[in-house]
């Protein structure tokens, strides 16, 4: 039987950058095939080539045993390929059925036949178990349902192979589970699913076959059942991930931050934190682990004063700071490295110097009687650029001219050069290349040695086991458990991240 899709040594270059290099991909019909890799490994480029959004420089695309050239998405759709993008493109004031049929309306006598569109949407929705109300307006629906509509759009165009780009990034865990069920339903009906992910758990859970990409090359394609999570990590990163732990002297400082029974809600008014309590001591790094979307972001926002808590207490050096403004909290001694550096970390259009100034523009010696001391600022910025090894032309370079890793160093330089006793660090190495990652880890360790209390939130387990003294695992807004940073049992932490408390045997071993 021919493969549903076969890509033969696809190479795609952008200038001197090679996004895909001789990638082979063979997808069997009736399988869920995952494509996994780090950021920038070339997953999305490969899928865009397959969907006709990009033209490969070399290589061939075979669909159902036929060689195809796909000059545009329309050609890919005609060949039976559909793509559900990460960002949805639905029209809020139109109904579900109108959105599904937009661009290929059913018409009768020149007019759009709403009734036929609704009936057809309803029957498709029933056939594939994608529950929607075809006559409801899209503006009123949740993200999970919007995704179903996007999938319906693909189905109605006759797709037999569906590509999903990071489909769970915007979904709640419950919605993700429903999506996986739907995908299994597709496969049962003889369709093929290709999905891009960097979530190991998801790939292990839902896929039949997995292809690992690294630096634009195909590393391996294997049946998922033959692999363990750590095999996948090793293939993704390209070396044995030793979870190399940073050496450290033991510390036992006094408590700097104390969080007690903290609750809050997210934008959708859903409880995001449900009674979180912990302490962070001076000279200690406390790691927060968990699958993204289990309350870590909200925890960081509440601690930094960007989101109100609904209940609970936060004490810094024994003083309550609950309900204070972000500014007052900074003044009280919290430095914050935000998870989304481009939104809350820097002003991209401002210079490095001005970004270094932010938050202390009214403090001596940065300014005097309301006038900024630019000479001092330039001096300090130059020194920080040197100390943090920020690759930039000078203090006046705009931040947007820097790479992701260097932008992150700008944020770290500003936050670490203050005199805050508590550092709140959220995803310090997200989207940062390996070299810069190492430097950032080194800087965090230096802050620990300087006696700072550090809360490190990360979705990367190896980062936590390299840096943290203790790791708290969050699940669904609660702390599921605590592990010592020097003895991370992947099995155990994986269970906690999935919301399962390990059996008594496991915890006894942990206590021993």
């Amino acid at each position: 039987m021919p493969f549903a899709i076969e890509l033969k040594s696809i190479t795609k270059r952008f200038g001197s950058f090679v996004a895909n290099e001789g990638v082979n991909l063979a997808v069997e019909r009736g399988r869920i095939h995952a494509i996994i890799g780090e950021n920038g490994a070339g997953k999305t480029t490969l899928m865009n080539v397959l969907f006709g959004l990009l033209q490969p420089d070399e290589g061939e695309i075979w669909i159902d045993g036929e060689k195809k050239i796909l000059p545009n998405p329309a050609a890919a759709i005609a060949a039976g390929i559909g793509m559900v993008h990460q960002h949805f493109k639905l029209v809020p004031s139109l109904t579900v059925a109108e959105n599904v049929f937009l661009g290929m309306e059913i018409r009768k006598g020149g007019l759009i036949d709403h009734k036929a569109q609704i009936e057809r949407t309803a029957s498709l929705s029933k056939q594939f178990g994608l529950q929607v109300d075809p006559s409801e307006r899209v503006g009123l629906l949740s993200v999970g349902i919007e995704q179903r509509i996007e999938i319906l759009k693909v189905l109605v165009r006759g797709a037999r192979t569906i590509i999903l780009d990071e489909p769970t990034a915007v979904l709640t865990p419950q919605e993700s589970r429903e999506l996986f069920q739907t995908l299994r339903g597709f496969v049962a009906q003889g369709m093929t699913v290709l999905f891009i992910s960097h979530h190991l758990e998801e790939v292990m859970e839902v896929s039949d076959t997995v292809t690992v990409l690294r630096h634009g090359k195909e590393v391996a394609t294997r049946p998922t059942a033959e692999l363990t999570k750590s095999d996948l990590v090793q293939m993704m990163v390209g070396r044995f991930v030793s979870f190399d732990r940073r050496p450290r002297p033991p510390t036992s400082g006094k408590t700097v931050l104390e969080v007690e029974d903290l609750w809050c809600r997210d934008e959708r008014r859903v409880q995001a934190l449900r009674g979180v309590s912990f302490k962070v001591r001076a000279g200690e790094i406390v790691g927060i682990a968990g699958v993204a979307g289990n309350g870590q972001t909200e925890l960081a926002e509440v601690l930094s004063g960007l989101r109100p808590s609904s209940h609970g207490a936060i004490r810094l050096q024994g003083r309550p700071i609950t309900g204070l403004s972000a500014r007052a909290i900074r003044a009280a001694g919290i430095a914050h490295v935000p998870g989304d550096r481009l939104v809350r970390g820097v002003d991209r259009n401002a210079s490095i110097a001005l970004n270094m100034l932010m938050g202390r523009q009214d403090q001596k010696p940065w300014s005097r009687s309301g006038i900024i001391d630019h000479r001092y600022l330039t001096e300090q910025t130059t020194a920080l650029i040197k100390r943090f090894d920020i690759r930039a032309r000078g203090p006046e370079s705009p931040v947007k001219s820097l790479s992701g890793g260097n932008i992150q160093k700008v944020v770290l330089a500003r936050e670490f050069s203050g005199d805050a006793g508590f550092l709140l660090i959220d995803q310090p190495t997200r989207g940062v290349d390996i070299g810069a990652q190492e430097a950032i880890h080194g800087e965090i360790m230096r802050q620990r040695e300087a006696g700072k209390a550090i809360l490190l939130i990360s979705v990367q387990l190896d980062e936590l086991s390299a840096l943290a003294d203790r790791i708290l695992v969050m699940f669904n807004g609660t702390v599921m458990g605590e592990l010592p940073g020097d003895r991370v049992d992947e099995e155990e932490i994986g269970m906690l991240m999935a919301g399962v408390r390990p059996g008594s045997g496991a915890s006894a071993r942990g206590a021993a």
Binding site: K89, V91, L102, G103
Partner: protein
């Protein structure tokens, strides 16, 4: 009582429909651009140019129908320039709209001077208006017949266009695409719908109706051209469009309100009420109407207020559970 009867009668309804028609035509034109996501403040200018060239066309050919075509053609040219600047060259739509309005005002005045050697207004010169349509058998319908018969053709066109446009937006592909382009351009783009083309088409459809509105003003509503004779109707239409979001039915209601207040003020003048006061009536009604219409935005404002209050008050539910906990502990 007698005064009220003299004021509110079939004649007032007729006058209302007459005064509503020009503003309805131009507002329905603006509905295309509004729905396509263009804020078109140039309606006034397109209408004025339409009125002027309708008169010119009629005087030079002797046929008011050709006059109407000339007016529409002139408005289309202006609408095309608008689309060219706004869609292709991505200029600011308010600036372009205002500039074209000023151009229309200046151009009509100077052409008037150049061709007829006068300022102010022109009539005569062999100018004929559009014929009045008397519906057959209307006389048998009594007062209702009086109400619906005896208008110039473009009045009927204006009112018939309302259901036509409702059908257009809900059931035709072009209407649907115009809405999508206005509401979610990236969705249109993803489906291969050309945003620029849809916006051009909307601008030209808008020019078509604005031109008809102008022609109606100079050949139907009156039979003359006066300097700046659109007298703010284009701007009134813009106001109605903002509050109706371009929905034809809401546009009709808004225009009827303006038409009614206009007609009322004309009638009040015959009662010897100070003309200054009377002339203020349409604007007063407009103000009240806009206030009332903007009151519609209330749910959103209330929603936001409630949301922010909810955030501040969200302590409560948990505080309550906390209290419960305390009780159970006790």
């Amino acid at each position: 009582m007698e005064v009220l009867e003299r004021l509110f009668n079939v004649a007032l309804v007729v006058a209302t429909l007459r005064t509503t028609a020009p503003i309805l035509l131009v507002a329905l034109g603006g509905s295309f651009t509004t729905k396509a996501g263009i804020f078109n403040i140039g309606l006034e200018g397109q209408m004025l140019v339409g009125a002027f060239f309708a008169v010119i066309g009629t005087i030079f050919t002797g046929s008011p129908w050709i006059g109407v075509l000339c007016g529409v053609a002139a408005a289309l040219v202006l609408a095309f320039v608008f689309a060219l600047l706004v869609v292709t060259f991505k200029a600011n739509e308010v600036v372009v709209g205002l500039a074209l309005n000023i151009l229309a005002g200046g151009m009509t005045v100077s052409l008037l001077k150049a061709i007829f050697g006068t300022r102010g207004s022109i009539f005569g010169h062999g100018l004929v208006g559009l014929p009045v349509l008397r519906l057959p058998n209307a006389r048998d319908l009594g007062w209702f017949g009086q109400m619906i018969s005896g208008y110039t053709p473009l009045v009927y066109v204006a009112f018939i266009l309302v259901p036509v446009l409702i059908l257009f937006y809900n059931r035709s592909r072009l209407g649907l695409y115009i809405r999508v382009v206005g509401e979610k351009p990236e969705a249109a783009e993803a489906l291969g719908i050309s945003i620029a083309r849809i916006r051009y088409v909307s601008s030209l459809l808008c020019g078509l109706l604005a031109g008809l509105a102008g022609a109606h003003l100079s050949l139907g509503y009156t039979t003359m051209f006066t300097e700046n004779m659109s007298s703010g109707r284009g701007f009134m239409a813009v106001a109605i469009l903002i509050f109706s979001n371009g929905d034809p039915l809401k546009i009709l209601l808004g225009c009827l309100l303006f038409g009614f207040s206009d007609a009322l003020s004309l009638r009040l003048q015959t009662f010897g009420i100070s003309s200054y006061l009377v002339l203020a009536v349409p604007y007063l009604v407009a103000l009240i109407a806009l206030f009332a219409l903007s009151y519609r935005a209330r749910p959103r404002i209330i929603q936001e207020t409630l949301a922010s209050m909810g955030r501040a008050l969200s302590v409560k539910p948990n505080a309550a559970t906390d209290a419960e906990k305390a009780v159970t502990r006790g």
